[in-house]
Amino acid sequence: MGEALNFERSFDVEGGSFQNAGTVSGQIKAILKDLGVSTDIVRRVAIICYESEINIVSYAKRGTITLAVTDEAVKIETKDEGPGIPDIELAMKEGYSTASAAVREMGFGAGMGLANMKKYSDHLIITSELGVGTCVKMMVMNFQKILHPDLPPITL
């Protein structure tokens, strides 16, 4: 059996930079593929990363996305310097959005971002402070590995 998987890297995301939106998600997707993470988990992480990236680009001055991969789970943590979310429960509702008209015109801001992040992760926690920023922690579990610990790491 190979060594236990333990990978971590942080990526900077610039607020307002729609021309670069998706770049970090693309890098994360490539890393997960290289690490041998299963297609289904890569697909789910790509969706939650992209939505996280779009949220930072749409609302914050800047932010970071941290990827952590172990045999048991892929964790994504985003931290931004943004306006914060006044009512997290309301923000989680599909269809609710405070996006600007310009952001909506590009096909974002339909109130699906946080809902998608919740739907495609197994665990999601949001903390937010008004005028400071928002932190979202998400986890996609590798249940196959948890239920069958003897499987080699490459099958994550």
Partner: protein, 111 residues
């Protein structure tokens, strides 16, 4: 069915990434909301949209879509075209509205 066969049969104009037309078209997805396409499209889908800005390339690339079809004769924005060529994401153009082209693509890949 291969993308180049879809292009030939339906007379689509190849706007970008003409060297990546050997991809397999497994299905299709229609939408202008990027979060919807991100969440619900599948690998190998041909994406029919009227969005022309460069973020469509990132979505198509992240979801491993077969290509993008722009409707009503819409051309990709210059930075969209540059990104699509760099990432090898085919962008095709039809003069038809979405309803018409979707029907034809569906009929072609589900004969």
């Amino acid at each position: 069915m291969q993308l180049d066969e879809v292009i030939r049969t339906l007379g689509l104009a190849v706007s970008c990434a003409g060297s990546s037309l050997g991809r397999e078209v497994k299905g299709g997805y229609v939408g202008d909301l990027l979060s919807d396409v991100m969440a619900n499209s599948k690998e190998g889908d041909l994406w029919i949209t009227r969005q022309v800005h460069q973020n469509i390339v990132a979505v198509a690339s992240l979801k491993d879509l077969a290509g993008i079809v722009l409707i009503q004769g819409s051309e990709p924005a210059p930075d969209t075209a540059a990104k699509a060529n760099a990432e090898g994401i085919p962008i095709l153009v039809t003069d038809l509205p979405a309803f018409e082209i979707v029907g034809r693509i569906y009929k072609l890949i589900h004969p």
